[in-house]
Amino acid sequence: MSLIEFNDVSFSYPNGFLAVDQVSFTIESGENVAIVGQNGAGKTTTVKMINGLIKPTSGKVYVNGKDTADYTTATLSREAGYVFQNPDDQIFHNTVRKEIEYGPRMLGFDEEKVQDLTQQAAHLARVEDYLEENPYNLPLSVRKFVTIASVLAMDTEILIFDEPTAGQDVAGLETLQHLLQQLQAMGKTAITITHDMDFVKTNFKKIFVMANKKLLRQVSPKALFQDRQLLEQAMLTQPFIMQLAEEIGLEDDILTIEDFVHAFSKNY
């Protein structure tokens, strides 16, 4: 069985509003997946079903062999860590250290392991310098990393990031990139929702494209950005460099500046 399995999953709100429509997919242990699509495409609702924040109204979701319908979110939080889009919905301690320690403590790890995990998570999210600070004295972009660290410290096999790139500067994006690489090296499974196509093209090999409450395709970045119809359906735009390459008549599989220079020097 795969680590995460969605079988024909739909979700409608009590008022009848359909948010996710018959989605099926599997994610294997150690995969690093991006989910893209317009707002309202059903991305957040889909990932919330992985840790049971939302239970499917029809279909089945299995995480590590567990049918999520049979478990509470608190129990599923041992399998999948979820970083909310808005850090302020999550933070409730007066120092960054206490905030990070909270998760592993709740999971009942011994003190030594709590300290180890806290240290490691703070290091990965690059918030070590802020450990004794009050999170609310830090800017929003740093608070987001505090929440990332506090979820990392729970040492779950699966990590879900909802819009981590929003409002980040160059340094913040670099930290995220490094973090995803480290998680891969540790054999973790990561799922990231993002609108940032430049971030997608450099950090993921597998992309789930969602539109209109459905999962349209699972593709590689090149396949996604070459497929005009798919881009249009999901209301996504090509990365700048690819647009430019096409406009001056270069090949259509150019994703990076290096690709561009290479193709350009081959032709001209």
Binding site: Q38, A166, Q168, V170, A171, I248, I257, F260, V261, F264
Partner: protein, 287 residues
């Protein structure tokens, strides 16, 4: 030195309890009708600078402010925060916090500032309708502002400021919480402001937008103005990359092509400019 609309002279500001100033010896003259973009890493002082220009510092946030801040050659401190409302609009990063809560529908929310100014009822009606059309929120008129999406709330925030028709707009990362489609709508509004000849001071990470629309670019690093000037001069400066400043893809590509031995013209920052240069090169090669 030429006197501008807003002049800052040797401004240094330290937040209460902070060890170090957030803005250090800042001198700049903002002129009427220009579009200024402020760049810099997070915590480099961009928002603080906006707060100084609008007078929130030192009026609302305490701390130590030295140097001069002049508005129309007059010290900004001669005005109260509310007195500045018809002259300087401010749009914040967080859409939700800009809903006043004083009114329970979008139309009255937008009219709220005009009510406070004592504008006649008939004029309010007309002005609010015009603004709602411009910002494309006519269909939201009867909705409760708290029940809107973040993007819609941000458009309501813009509309509420626009209703006061200030000449100066200070806009702090208006799209960082929004998705691409909603961001696009906000950019459209900012573009309309520019066309209407407003003075715009914008903090924004989305560099491609800035390279397209801004006139001047200011770069902050740890509270210091490290570079400023016409956008073509600043944004084509590849040395800023090492200082963690996001540069347009065109600048990065131009640098890579130059390193590969191509003779790319200086000061290209937009895609169209790059395309023209490359097409010229291709034409030269094929002849």
């Amino acid at each position: 030195m030429v006197m501008g609309l807003i002049d800052l002279k040797n401004v240094t500001y330290t937040y209460p309890l902070a060890d170090e100033p957030s803005i250090k010896d800042f001198t700049y003259s903002f002129e009427q009708g220009k579009f200024y973009a402020i760049l810099g890493a997070n915590e480099s002082g961009k928002t603080t600078l906006c707060n100084i220009i609008r007078g929130f510092i030192p009026d609302f946030f305490q701390g130590e402010l030295t140097g001069e801040v002049l508005f129309n050659q007059e010290p900004l401190s001669h005005y109260t925060l509310s007195e500045l409302a018809p002259y300087m609009g401010y749009v914040f990063q967080n859409p939700f916090n800009q809903i006043t809560g004083a009114r329970d529908n979008v139309f009255e929310e937008i009219a709220y500032g005009l009510e406070n100014l004592g504008v006649a009822k008939g004029d309010i009606e007309k002005q609010v309708k015009d603004i709602m059309e411009m910002t494309n929120i006519m269909s939201l008129a009867d909705k409760n502002p708290f029940e809107l999406s973040g993007g819609q709330q941000q458009r309501v925030a813009f509309a509420s400021i626009l209703a006061l028709s200030p000449d100066i707009f200070i806009i702090d990362e208006p799209t960082s919480q929004l998705d691409p489609q909603e961001s696009e709508r906000i950019f459209d509004i900012i573009h309309q402001l520019k066309n209407a000849g407003k003075t715009i001071i914008l903090v924004e990470h989305k560099i491609e937008l800035i390279s397209e629309y801004a006139d001047e670019v200011l770069v902050l690093e740890e509270g210091r103005l490290i570079c400023s000037g016409k956008k073509h001069d600043v944004l084509s400066d590849i040395s800023l990359k090492e200082r963690q400043i996001d540069l347009p893809e065109t600048t990065l590509l131009a640098d890579a092509l130059r390193k590969a031995g191509y003779n790319i013209p200086e000061k290209l920052i937009t895609k169209e400019e790059m395309k023209a240069a490359l097409m010229a090169h291709i034409k030269g090669v094929s002849q």
